[in-house]
Structures are given as C-alpha cells and as structure tokens.
C-alpha cells in the first residue's frame, strides 16, 4: 500500500523520464519482462508470476504478454461492465503493436497496488490530463492520492479510452513493437529502419525475411528502451476506428460468462441480509425465534447496521430472514420525507437570494444585464433521487481464514475493494486477494465498498466461504443514490431576442464541477452559484453524475429562453454556439438527421438538447408522440463528436444504452423518502424501461479531434431528458420542470 502522498506539486524524484518508466527485467526461466508505465525497480518481478504463468510466456510490459505460440495478450487495467472496454483498449494496444487481432487475447489486470504505483500517475500517464473529479470523492485518506493519480484501476468517469487507452495502452503497444524491432534488427544484422511489423510478425522486405514476434521477445529484453515510442497517426490505424466485434459477447450469449454472483467455492454457504431501513440506524433488537428453527439455517447475525442469515442455500436464508422481526434505533433522519427535503432545498435557495452561495463561474454583471433585459425569463426545475438498479443485485463472496482473506465480486475499483476488505478485517492488504469478475451493470454503483465490507464481516463471523446476495428490495432501498436537486434560473434577452444574461443557483452534492457550467454558450454575463445541501441518504456517482441533473436543467432553460425570444430551439442554440465550429457541427448534424424542419403529424413534437460532457460533444433530437395519455418517445437522433471513436459500434451501443438509462429516469425514475426510509423496493414501484418503450435510435459520429478523445459510457445521457421534455413542449405547450414525467398529468 502506498504510504507516500503525491500532489501535482510534489518534487520530481530525479526528474523521471519516460525512459525511466519503461523498465525491463527478466523473470525466472529467462522470460522477458518489460514494464511500461510501471515504476522502475521491482514491480515487474512481482507482476510477472501473476501474469506470465505459462511456459515460454513473455511479459513484454505491464500490458503486453507474448507467448511461444505468438499469442499477444493485452492486460487491461479496467473492468468490463458492458461498456466493451476490454475490446476497445486491446484494439488500441494491438494497433500500435501491429499485432494480429485474431491472435490477441485479453486478461484483466490483477488488483495489485504495484500495477497502479502512484508515482506514475500524473508524471507519466497523464501529465496534462486531469483525473475527472467524479473519481476523487469515491476514495478516502491516503488512498485518494493513489487513486486520483491512477486512472488504471478505477473504471468510471468515461475515462478508460481517453486516459488509459491514449496514455498507456497505445504507448505500451508502440514501445513493445520498437523493442521487438530492435531485437530483430540485431539478430538479422540489418538496420532497424528496414524492418516493419505486421500481423504479429517482423518483416524485412529487402531479404523477404519474416518471423513471429515470439522469436524476438526474449532478445528484446537486451535492447535499449524506447525513450518516446512513436505513436501512429490516424491514417496508419488498422484496428482503431473499426467496429471490431466485442470479445466478451459470445460468453455472454451462452451462459458461461462469470459475474460476481457466480462465484463458487467448496463448502460455500449463502447469506441473505437486511439493513436498517433508515441509513444510520442500528438493529436494537430482533426476534429470530422462527428463523432459528427453519431448515438450512446456520447462523443469524446482528451486525449492528444489518441482519444476516447464513444458510445452506440462498433461498433458505432469504426465507428465514423474512420471518425476523427487528427494532431499529431512532435517528435524526426518521422524520424526513421527500416533500420536506425539497422544501429544505427551497428555503436554502431563498436564503441564498441573489448574492450568497458558492460562486462557480462569473463573468460580466448579471445583475445589471438582467435588470435591463428586454425580456426576462425565470424558472425552477427539480429532479428526484435515483437508484442505479443494476440487473445483478449487489453481492460479494468472502472467505476469511488463517489471517488471510479472499474476496470475489464485480467492482469498478478492484484495488479499493481489496483495501476495504483489509481494513474491515484489520489485516494487511497483502493478506487479501481480490478476484474480480464481470460486472452485471456498474453505472457508478459498483464503485462503492458497502457490499464488500458487509460480506467480509459476515465471512469473518462464519469461518467458511459465504456468498452474500442482496435481494432486489435491499438493492433498491440501500443504494448510494443520484442526489435529488433543485435549480433556479434567471435569463435575460435583449430586444432582438439575443441572450444577454444567465444566472443559475442550484443545490449541490456531487461532481463533476463543470456540470452546471455553460462555457460553450456565448452569453456575455453569467453567474452560476451552488449551495451544498445535507441529506442523510447515501449518494454516489450515477451514470453521468451531476450532468444527469444539469443537462436537464440547462437545456430546459435554454429552450424556455428560445421560446421567450420567439425563436426555434435549434436556431437559438446555433446563435449561442456561434464561433465554435466543432460544437456547431454536432448540433447541425443532429438537426439534419432528425429532419428538423420537416412537419410532424398532429400531436407529435421534436425537441433538441446539447450537452458536452466527459470530453464528448453531443446533441440529441427526440421525437415524441403526445396523442395518447402518456408521452411515447418514438425516435432519438444522436450526433456525437468524441474526438475519435476507437470502436464506432461500441460507441453507438453506449449511446443506445445511455438513452435507455436516461429515458427510464425521464419517464418514471424516482426514489422518494418517507419517514427517513426509501419507499421503492422492486421493479413494480421503481420501473425500468422495457423493450416496448424503447425508441428507435440513430447515431452519427463525427471524429473531430483524434488527439483528444472523449468518453462514451456517460455523455449520451445528459441531453436525453431535455430533448424529450422540449419535444413535449413543442407538441403540447406543456413545459415540464420536474422529473419524472409519470408525475405529470398530460390528459
């Protein structure tokens, strides 16, 4: 575990160069080990036994291994939760290496701190790249320093491709190739410049010689390390930019893919759990008389903040748990309900008035500009708490014995999970082995450690391997929710309908910091403030985090200003984006795709919304049918500029996915609190979009800047809700200012 802290201003230790970070070594058996982006010294020695297990396997660097059969293995330091990252990152590495894609294998990196040696973070991997703020609050203490430095072992913030892919996987591939070429040049006694790599072979065209990478892997260890491996330019890409089939889909189509919940150990037992309904309460007493007598029941545990029943089978544990009557301690949160919470937000916003609150951005004089505006627009918007509702309920399997612990789960930050288990048991991190599996949905939920801690505590009490599974009810009621929020706006227009002032104050709990800002909109006077609002409910990152709220707030209000200006929503945004060609190209593309100017049937409407987030610029147009009692979203047109889409089909899939996730929230997503407890429990009262409610989705990608890539997993979501509500306004004149739509009577 890292004990040193680093910061952006930390003194450089002897000015480490890239060269220093591409370290090489030889492990037992003479296998070559070259570490790219791994601290000089010994980390590779420790990683090698974990990764290069087979005979003749050569660990070329921390992200590449080549075996005797010339199979290239890409070692991926991110987790697969449906975003296709195993394939996309391997594409980036294999392309720079000129590997034969049909002979590329993928391996998830072990949860090892040496993999994420903190010194490499800002210094090597991302000297000019900020770790998204979303990642920072998910960790604590000294570990925060490590995790913020290392994008390597946290998957979130739509960061894997633009961070790890650009800065590590491509460099690793390019460095390995240069070392192989140098080794071949020496062996064949020809200038390295006459050699080239193609399909996992080294070729010398002049002499028509060719040989597989594997032949030179060991000799490459003797070579000088590339100081600055040369990366390809887009015209030379062979794999990047191609819709390559995902490697994980076949096993997800025949039932063999293993998720955390599928862990299986000899002698394993099962735990069902029920936490105190109000967060912060504890189990004061329980009557388990019936449960004790039920078949298969092994242990009934009062764990303080939750009850666990351990049994031979999960169903037996769940049945027994259902008979237990518990009394919980009183907490401050017991009296809280959702209306009171929104009232509290309103009071706090009132108190902040025109001046108080934390200023996030300010330019010009909004007070003066608004006072003298020809047209004034004011509006308040609200969104509720939301649960993640991953299809795989939270679960974790743990086995504590002999002062050591093994943990099996699917987690977005395996190293954090390992640390959480160690801390829970009061043992060293070296005594915890963490086994990560596929994640049955992440969306931010699986960056939390609560399930890991609970399972580890149960396993400690049980003395045998225990698989803890949350019921859907627990999963819904004990989430770390997307916060509810209120946002108020004042906007001013001049006599020509041009936006001259933009003032916003909103409640705040989370990140990213730029979510409420609109630097891309050309409004001379603007001021954005926040007030921090306390809540006893646990909150956490939820797909696109605060952009999920502010996308709706901002783009609804822009639409209201457009309407007040007597302008079309698309035309009004064009004016605001004037001067920014990349932004305009995206907006224009979405409008063009949708046939913006073409008439729609009576009762149908189109709405447009534009939100750049996570480095990707996106505009969406929604087409909504309002002729029935409820809105029917027919089509979504997405235009997106992620810089460069490494896997265009995977990118499109993430747009489709974000739309479904965002539409669930728009139509009916709502977690509400009553007497301090979450009221929703399962899919009957926390419904998820179903296939009959899924609109058609068209996606067009603009590769606007191959040097600065954007994310894919989240940015498709923020524009969705406002595109839909703006379409509802276009169809009906009914302006929706509070989500979800199920609260609105459209009859």
């Amino acid at each position: 575990m890292a004990d040193k802290q680093i910061s952006k201003t930390a003194p450089k230790k002897g000015k480490w160069t890239r060269r220093a970070f591409i370290g090489a070594g030889v492990v037992a058996g003479g296998a070559l080990v070259v570490g790219v982006a791994v601290r000089p010294g010994n980390p590779i020695d420790r990683l090698s036994p974990m990764l290069a297990k087979g005979d003749g396997e050569q660990l070329i660097n921390a992200w590449v291994k080549i075996d005797a059969d010339n199979i290239v293995t890409a070692i991926i330091p991110h987790v697969e939760m449906g975003q296709g990252i195993f394939t996309s990152l391997a594409q980036m590495l294999a392309d720079e290496l000129d590997a034969d894609w049909s002979k590329v294998k993928i391996l998830e990196a072990p949860a090892d701190a040496k993999y994420v040696s903190h010194d490499i973070g800002r210094e090597f991997l991302a000297p000019s790249l900020e770790v998204p703020a979303i990642l920072e609050p998910t960790v604590g203490g000294t570990f925060l320093q490590l995790a913020t430095a290392m994008n390597l072992q946290i998957t979130g913030g739509s960061f894997s491709i633009r961070g790890t892919g650009q800065r590590a996987m491509r460099v690793a591939g390019a460095a390995a190739k240069e070392m192989l070429l140098a080794a071949a040049a020496e062996e064949w006694n020809v200038p390295a410049g006459e050699l080239r790599a193609e399909n996992s072979m080294i070729l010398h065209d002049k002499s028509s010689k060719s040989a597989p990478f594997a032949d030179f892997a060991a000799a490459a260890a003797e070579q000088g390390l590339p100081n600055k491996p040369k990366l390809k330019s887009p015209k030379d890409y062979k794999l990047m930019g191609k819709a390559i089939a995902r490697t994980d889909i076949p096993e997800k189509s025949n039932g063999t893919a293993l998720f955390g919940i599928d862990a299986d150990l000899p002698g394993m037992k099962y735990a069902a759990v029920k936490a105190a309904p109000v967060v912060g309460a504890t189990v004061e007493s329980m009557n388990a008389d019936t449960a004790k007598t039920m078949p298969g029941v092994l242990q009934i545990l009062n764990m303080g903040n939750f009850i666990a029943v351990v049994a031979d089978g999960y169903w037996q544990a769940e049945q027994a748990l259902g008979t237990i009557e518990a009394k919980y301690s009183k907490t401050e949160g017991d009296t809280l309900d959702q209306d009171a919470l929104f009232k509290r937000y309103a009071t706090m916003l009132d108190e902040a008035g025109d001046k108080d609150g934390d200023v996030e951005t300010e330019e010009g004089d909004v007070g003066e500009a608004f006072a003298s505006a020809a047209t004034k627009v004011e509006a308040e918007y609200k969104v509720p708490f939301l649960a993640h509702a991953t299809m795989e309920p939270m679960n974790c399997t743990a086995w504590v014995r002999d002062g050591k612990c093994d943990v099996w789960s699917g987690h977005q930050a395996p190293l954090m999970a390992r640390k959480a288990a160690a801390d829970t048991l009061g043992i060293d991190m070296d005594d915890v082995t963490y086994h990560n599996a596929y994640l049955g949905g992440g969306f931010g939920r699986r960056s939390e450690n609560d399930a890991i801690i609970m399972a580890t505590r149960i396993a400690k009490a049980a003395k045998y391997p225990v698989k803890m599974i949350w019921s859907r009810e627990e999963d819904t009621m004990q989430d770390h929710y997307r916060p509810s929020a209120t946002s108020r706006f004042q906007g001013g227009l001049d006599k020509d309908g041009k936006a001259v002032s933009w003032s916003n104050i909103h409640t705040h709990l989370f990140d990213p910091q730029e979510a409420p800002t609109v630097p891309y909109y050309n409004i001379a006077n603007h001021k954005i403030r926040k007030i921090d609002v306390p809540t006893h409910l646990r909150f956490g990152p939820w797909r696109s985090v605060d952009h999920s709220q502010h996308g709706f707030f901002i783009e609804s209000f822009v639409d209201e200003m457009a309407h007040a200006a007597g302008k079309d929503g698309y035309a009004f945004r064009r004016e605001l984006l004037a001067g920014s060609a990349r932004h305009l190209a995206v907006l224009d593309k979405a409008a063009e795709m949708s046939g913006w100017d073409k008439p729609l049937p009576e009762g149908h409407g189109r709405g447009i919304a534009f939100v750049p987030s996570f480095g990707t610029i996106i505009a969406e147009v929604a087409e909504v049918d309002m002729t029935g009692k409820k809105p029917k979203v027919k089509k979504i047109f997405v235009a997106a500029d992620p810089g460069f889409a490494v896997n265009p089909d995977g990118f499109a899939a993430q747009m489709e996915s974000s739309i479904a996730y965002g539409l669930t929230a728009t139509l009916f997503g709502e977690i509400s609190v009553k007497d301090g407890a979450v009221q929703q429990s399962n899919f009957h009262d926390y419904p998820i979009l179903r296939i009959n409610e899924m609109p058609d989705v068209a996606v067009e990608i603009i590769n606007g800047d191959h040097k600065r890539l954007g994310g894919a997993g989240e940015p498709g979501l923020p524009p969705l809700a406002p595109a839909v509500t703006n379409a509802i306004f276009a169809a009906t004149g009914n302006r929706v200012r509070e989500l979800p739509l199920s609260k609105v009577d459209f009859a």
Binding site: G313, Y314, I688
Partner: protein, 158 residues
Amino acid sequence: MITLNVNGQAKEVDVDPATPILWVVRENLKMTGTKFGCGVALCGACTVHLDGKPIRSCSTPVSEADGKAITTIEGLAEEDGTFSKVQQAWVDQQVAQCGYCQSGQIMSATALLKNNSNPSDEQIDAAMAGNICRCGTYVRIRKAIKTAAGAPSETQEA
C-alpha cells in the same frame, strides 16, 4: 430426492420442493447461466423453459418441474458448442453489454421464435416486455430476433 430433467439430462437433487427452480439450478446443479434479478417475476433474468414454455424460475417451485423438461441457457447450444440460431444472432448483432440479463432475453426470444417464425415488431415487443435490460440493448435485441428469424437485417463487421 427430486429427479429433474435439465437440458435432457436426469439430475437428482435433495431440496425442499418449494425451492424456486432458479436456486436449484444455480446452487445445486452449479449451472450459473440463469440469473437472479428480482425474485418476484418482474425482470425476466431468471427465464428458463419448462416443457418449451418460458417461465420465471425465481418464482416457480421446483416441485412444478416434476415430470417436465427444464431447459436453461446452457442447453441451447449444440453439444459441440455451436450456438443456436438465436445465440448466433445475439453475437452477430453485438447485443450484450454487461450481459447479465441476456440469458433470460435469449430464452424468451427462443421461445418466441419457436411459436412464431417471423414475428412483427409489436409481437417482439409483446413477447420480450417481461425481460428488463438495464443496459438498454433493446434496439439490438429487436434486430437479433429478426436476424434469427431469417429476416434481412444488417449485420456487424466481424
């Protein structure tokens, strides 16, 4: 002891007859392709076939399988591992994301196509509405069902 017929094989299990098929298949038979999602037949992640008909195994006691044939996701492919038409369509259309619900989706789609070799969009929606996918792979599920039905449809670059 209860004798079950799972994917054409006789299996003996010693469980309470009230135990849902889901947990017997997952824990006793160690076939983990069938997933737990909600426990109350609302999400379809646990879908298996009982005598060819799709059922929610989380809410069907194992006693109801007496004398009937259970088919799980593990029983769809040929013995040599060759994917069924529906499974292959799932790969061709790159359907799965996190993949957790997909066993259930494929079981529902397989049952649909058994009874209706060329379903319309409305029929697909009706047959598949019991299966939630949180990753929102619905657009591709529709395409894959049509691909499996033999309808012309664009496929992905391999």
